[in-house]
Amino acid sequence: MDTILTGLQPAFQPDQVSVWFKAAKVSDFPKNGGACVKYKDKQIAVYYFERRNQWYACQNACPHKLEMVLSRGMIGDEKGIPKIACPMHKKTFSLVTGENLNGDLDAISIYPVKVEDNFVYIGFSE
C-alpha cells in the first residue's frame, strides 16, 4: 500500500505541469463516465462530462480503503460541483478540489486534463 500513497501528490495548477502525458483518443473514453489511465506506476481516473464538455482527472485509489476503483464510480454533481462517487461505499469527492463531500476522508489528488487533436492529455509535475 505504501507505493500507492507515495505515488500521490497534492493538487497543483496547470501552469505547474512539467509533463503532459498523451493518454488515449477522446473516442476511447466513455461519455459521462470514467476510465483508468496508466502512467508509469500511477493509476489516474479520467472522467468526461459530455454535456459540460469538461474533463477531470484524479487518483484512482479511494482514500477510504485504498482500492484502485474510483474510475469505475459514477459521476454527477452536488450543487453544481462535479463529483465522483466511489463504487465501494459511495464516498463522494469534488473533482475540482478533491475534497470528500460526504465525510472527512483525506482529499484526493486532482490532475489537470487537456484535449488536443482529439487526444486526451493528463498533466503531471515531476
Binding site: 476511447d28 473514453f29 477510504h64 480503503k65 485504498l66 452536488e78 472527512d104
Partner: protein, 840 residues
C-alpha cells in the same frame, strides 16, 4: 472581562458551553473548559453504538474546532486538582494555575466499584468511557482466541448493566447478568414488568441471576469465577461492573463546600453551591437530596447555571424533576413515566400483561379516573410519547381509560387523537426543553421547512432522540395545515418521488437519462438518481444494464458484484437450484482456470469470487457456451426462487416444487425492481425451502398452492403473509404478475416488499382486494406489462459476449491491457481471499 471556568467536558459540561455562548457576549466573558479525557465531549447515552461502528466521531457532540471557533479554550487531558476559594484560582495536574470569576463544576460521576475481594483482577472492567469499551473489546478478542465459549458477566441489572450485557453479547461472549435485588431495573420497573423483561431477555440468550450478592472474585491473576456463597459460584472469564454511580465530588470536599452525607455537592435551586461563585451541575450536583443520573435534568441544570451567571436571577431549577425515560434495551422497548409505582392511596392501576408476547403495560390513574399519574411499558412503548404528554399536560383521560393501553376495541379513530391536539406549551423534547409551540412556530413563520431544519434550529430531538417521531409528526401536520405538500423527493436533481417519476417516464416514453433530466430534472444527476432512473427504464422496457452503463449502480455497470479488493464475483443462474453434474463440472473448471474462490450461496447456487475485471468476459464466455446465463446477483432484481426437492423424490411432497420454482425463476429472471426480489417454493407445509422468508413464497397444500407475499430474511426478518389459498399454477402466476408489477410501480427506491406492505394503506387486506378482486381495475394492465417484460428478457451477459463493442468497459486500463497489479490475494483453507484491509 470575566472568566468562567468549567471543570468537566462530559455531556452536561458541553451543554453548558453551548447554552453559554448562545446567550453571553464574547466581549464580557471568557470561557475555559477542562476535560480529563483525551477527546472532547461525546454522547455517553449512545455509547453502546460505538461497539457496532467504532466511530468515535459519530458520538461527538461537536467537533474539536467547535470550541476554538466559538472562542472557548478547551484544555483536554488535564485534570483540575485544587480549588482555592480565597484567591479564586484553580490548579491543575500539570501545576498550572488559572483565575476565575465563576466556577462551574460538571465533573459528573464515576462507576461505583463495590469493595469485593479480587475486584482488581485482570478481566474486570467498568462501563463508562470509550476507553473502557475499547479495553473490553480487546480483552474479549483475546478470550475468544483461546476459548470459543468464553463467558462474561455484568454485575448490576440496572439500565446501564443491561446495555453492557448487550455489548458483551455482541462481542461474542456468553452473557450473564448478576443482580443483587430481586428484579431487573429495580428503580424503573415493578416486579411484574421486570419479570416480563427478564423472560424476554432470557429468550434472547442472556442469562439472568437475581438475589445474588457477590462475596469474592476468584482466579489466579485473571478472573475465573464469581463466588456468591458457599457452593454457589458462576464461572466467568470477564466481568463488567455496572453497579451504579458515585458523584466525582472530591474537589468540593477538599475546598470545603457543603456536601451530602452520601456524597454529591449540595446546590440550591440556582445551582449554586455553598459558595455563590461556584456552581455544580449534572451528576455531581445534589439537588433536593438527590443525584439525577439522566441527561434531561442535567441539561436543565446547565441552563439554570448559565442564566444565573448572566444575572437572570429568576431562572430557577424546577422543584419536580421528571424522571420519565424510554429506551430500547437489546431491541426491547422499556419505558416508565411519572409515578411508575403508585401507592394505593393516590389512585388505581390498570394492568395488561401477556408473557407469551413479552408485553406489559401499566397506567396509574387518579381515584376519579380523570388524570394520568404515571405508568410502565415493556415490550411495546410506541405510545410512550403521547402517554407522557398526557401525564405532563394533565390532559383528561378518555371515558374508558383502559383503551390507552388496550386500544379502542370499537370501530373508529385512535384513542389519542392527533398530536396537534396537544397544548402549545406541551414539552415535546425534554432533553432540550422544546415545546410544541416552539416547533410549530418555526414552520408557520417560514423559518424551517422540514424535520432536519427544525431539529437544527430548535435542537429538538438532538438529545436522547426519543421524541423524534413526535417532532416529525408535528412538522408534517403543521406543513399540511399550511397547505404545503410533504413528500420524499429523490434528490436535488429531481423534485419528485420515485412513483411520480415512474409515471412521467412512462407517459412521455422517455428512454435515456438525459431525456429524463431535460424533461423534469436539473444539473448532471448523481449516484442516487441515475441508478433509480435506470431501474425505472428496466421496469418499463426491460432494458438491460448494457444500454446505458454509465447510469447503472456499481454492480450493474459491470454485471458483477464488486468485492472488498476491487475484484468481482460471478454467479450464473441455476433455476430452482437444479443443476446437472456436467454443468457442475464446467463451473469447477472455470473456477480452477481463473483461480476463483468458490462458495455455495444461500439461494442454492454457486458464487465464484476474485475475478479480475479484465477476465469477466472470458469467464462468462465459457459459462455461456456451457448453457449458463446471468444470475443477476448484482442487480436490484429477481435473485433466486429457492425450492425443496418436492414430490418427485420426497415421500412427504404434495406437489412438484422444483418444477414450479424453475418455472417461476425463468419467468421473472432479469426483472428489475426497487429492491432485490427472492422467491421460494416448498412442496409441503414442512417448508424446507423457507418460502415464507421470501418476497414471494408458494407452499403446496391439499388442493393447490398457498401464496404468501412480502417476507424477507436479513436484518429485520419478516414472515410473508397469506395472499391466496389453494390456487393452481396459472392463478398463482397471474396473482404474482399483478403483485410484483404493482410493487415495482409504487414502491420507494430500495424499499423491499415487506416495508412496502407496511406503508400500504389497508395492508394485506388492501393488497388482496387489488390483486384478487381487482378493486383498482388495474389487473389487466399489470398482467400485460409483466408479460411485456417477460417477453423482452435477454441475458445481458450473452449480449456482452456477442457484441464486441460492449466489452471495452471490462478493462482496468484504457491505455494498457495489463490488469491492476495492486490486487493481492492470500491463502485461506485451500482457496484464496483478498488481503485484509489495513486502513480505517
Amino acid at each position: 472581562m470575566k472568566k468562567v471556568i468549567v471543570v468537566g467536558n462530559g455531556m452536561v459540561g458541553y451543554k453548558f458551553c453551548e447554552k453559554f455562548i448562545a446567550k453571553a457576549s464574547k466581549e464580557e466573558f471568557k470561557l475555559i473548559v477542562f476535560g480529563e479525557e483525551p477527546r472532547p465531549a461525546y454522547d455517553r447515552v449512545h455509547l453502546s453504538e460505538y461497539f457496532q461502528n467504532q466511530d468515535a466521531k459519530a458520538l461527538e457532540l461537536a467537533p474539536a474546532n467547535w470550541y476554538s471557533d466559538n472562542d472557548i479554550e478547551l484544555i483536554s487531558n488535564e485534570r483540575v486538582t485544587d480549588i482555592h476559594r480565597k484567591s479564586k484560582t484553580i490548579t491543575t495536574s500539570s501545576d498550572e494555575s488559572y483565575e476565575y470569576d465563576y466556577l462551574v463544576l460538571a465533573t459528573g460521576s464515576l462507576p461505583f466499584v463495590p469493595p469485593i475481594e479480587g475486584v482488581e483482577k485482570e478481566g474486570v472492567f467498568v462501563y463508562r468511557t470509550i476507553e473502557d469499551l475499547e479495553g473490553m473489546m480487546a480483552y474479549a478478542d483475546m478470550l475468544k482466541a483461546k476459548k470459543p465459549d468464553a463467558k462474561a458477566a455484568v454485575l448490576g441489572g440496572g439500565l446501564l448493566g443491561l446495555e453492557a450485557a448487550k455489548a458483551v453479547m455482541d462481542m461474542g461472549l456468553e452473557p450473564h447478568v448478576v443482580e443483587f435485588a430481586q428484579k431487573l431495573m429495580p428503580r424503573q420497573l415493578d416486579l411484574r414488568s421486570s419479570k416480563v423483561l427478564q423472560v424476554k431477555l432470557e429468550s434472547l440468550g442472556i442469562n439472568i441471576h437475581l438475589n445474588k450478592a457477590t462475596n469474592q472474585i476468584l482466579g489466579d491473576r485473571a478472573i475465573e469465577a464469581m463466588e456468591f456463597g458457599e457452593d454457589d459460584k458462576l464461572d466467568v472469564d470477564m466481568l463488567v461492573i455496572s453497579a451504579g454511580i458515585r458523584p466525582r465530588d472530591e474537589l468540593g470536599k477538599t475546598c470545603g463546600l457543603d456536601m451530602g452525607v452520601r456524597g454529591g455537592i449540595t446546590v440550591n435551586n440556582k445551582m449554586q453551591t455553598s459558595d455563590p461563585e461556584i456552581f455544580a451541575i449534572g451528576e455531581v450536583a445534589l439537588y433536593n437530596h438527590m443525584i439525577y443520573g439522566l441527561v434531561a435534568p442535567g441539561y436543565e441544570m446547565a441552563d439554570v447555571a448559565v442564566e444565573q451567571i448572566l444575572g437572570n436571577e429568576e431562572a430557577l431549577m424546577s422543584s419536580d424533576i421528571d424522571m420519565s425515560t424510554k429506551l430500547k434495551l437489546i431491541g426491547v422497548d422499556v419505558a416508565s413515566f411519572g409515578e411508575p409505582f403508585m401507592p394505593a392511596e393516590k389512585g388505581h392501576s390498570i394492568l395488561f400483561e401477556n408473557k407469551t408476547k413479552y408485553l406489559y403495560k401499566r397506567i396509574n390513574v387518579s381515584h376519579d379516573g380523570k388524570t394520568l399519574l404515571g405508568g410502565i411499558l415493556v415490550g411495546d412503548a410506541a405510545d410512550y410519547n403521547i402517554l407522557h404528554q398526557m401525564y405532563l399536560n394533565g390532559i383528561p383521560l378518555p371515558e374508558n381509560a383502559e383503551d390507552l393501553i388496550l386500544g379502542t376495541r370499537a370501530d373508529g379513530g385512535s384513542v389519542f387523537g392527533s398530536v396537534m391536539d396537544l397544548p402549545d406549551a406541551a414539552q415535546i423534547c425534554s432533553c432540550e426543553s422544546v415545546s410544541k409551540g416552539d416547533i410549530c412556530s418555526t414552520i408557520t413563520s417560514g423559518e424551517c421547512n422540514n424535520v432536519s431544519e427544525v431539529m437544527s434550529c430548535t435542537k429538538a430531538g438532538t438529545g436522547c432522540g426519543g421524541c423524534k417521531p413526535m417532532v416529525s409528526d408535528l412538522v408534517n401536520e403543521t406543513l399540511k395545515s399550511l397547505g404545503k405538500e410533504v413528500k420524499e423527493t429523490i434528490c436535488d436533481h429531481f423534485n419528485y418521488t420515485r412513483q411520480e417519476l415512474f409515471g412521467i417516464i412512462k407517459v412521455k416514453k422517455l428512454t435515456t437519462f438525459y431525456e429524463v433530466l431535460d424533461a423534469c430534472g436539473e444539473g448532471d444527476g448523481c449516484e442516487t438518481c441515475k441508478p433509480l432512473v435506470a431501474s425505472i427504464f428496466a421496469s418499463l422496457y426491460n432494458d438491460t444494464a448494457n444500454k446505458e452503463d454509465v447510469i447503472q449502480d456499481s454492480n450493474d455497470k459491470f454485471l458483477a458484484n464488486i468485492q472488498r479488493n476491487g475484484t468481482y464475483s460471478v454467479v450464473p443462474r441455476i433455476p430452482g437450484g437444479e443443476i446437472t453434474p456436467q454443468k457442475l463440472i464446467v463451473i469447477g473448471q472455470v473456477g480452477e482456470k481463473y483461480n476463483l474462490y468458490t462458495k455455495i450461496t444461500g439461494g442454492q447456487r454457486i458464487d465464484l469470487f476474485g475475478a479480475q475485471l479484465n477476465d469477466l468476459p472470458a469467464i462468462w464466455k465459457e459459462l455461456i457456451d456451457a448453457g449458463f446465463e446471468s444470475g443477476h446477483a448484482y442487480g436490484k432484481s429477481l435473485r433466486t426462487v429457492k425450492s425443496c426437492v418436492g414430490s418427485t423424490w420426497c415421500r412427504y411432497g404434495m406437489d412438484e416444487s422444483v418444477s414450479f420454482a424453475i418455472d417461476l425463476e425463468n419467468r421473472y429472471k432479469g426483472l428489475r425492481s426497487p429492491h432485490k426480489l427472492k422467491g421460494g417454493v416448498s412442496g409441503c407445509i414442512r417448508e424446507c425451502a423457507e418460502a415464507r422468508g421470501k418476497d414471494f413464497g408458494v407452499i403446496a397444500v391439499e388442493g393447490g398452492w398457498n401464496l404468501y407475499v412480502c417476507g424477507n430474511g436479513g436484518a429485520t426478518p419478516k414472515h410473508a403473509l397469506l395472499l391466496a389459498e389453494q390456487i393452481d399454477n396459472e392463478t398463482c402466476i397471474k396473482y404474482l404478475d399483478r403483485f410484483l408489477m404493482y410493487y415495482i410501480r409504487t414502491a420507494a427506491p430500495l424499499m423491499r416488499t415487506a416495508a412496502w406492505l407496511d406503508k400500504l394503506e389497508g395492508g394485506i387486506e388492501q393488497l388482496k382486494s387489488i390483486v384478487i378482486d381487482d378493486s383498482l381495475n388495474l389487473a389487466e394492465e399489470l398482467e400485460k406489462d409483466m408479460q411485456g417484460l417477460v417477453d423482452a428478457y435477454e441475458c445481458e451477459w450473452t449480449q456482452v459476449i456477442e457484441r464486441e463493442e460492449l466489452q471495452s468497459r471490462f478493462k482496468h486500463f484504457i491505455n494498457s491491457d495489463e490488469k491492476d497489479d495492486n490486487i493481492v490475494f492470500v491463502p485461506m483453507r485451500d482457496q484464496i481471499m483478498p488481503e485484509p484491509w489495513t486502513s480505517n
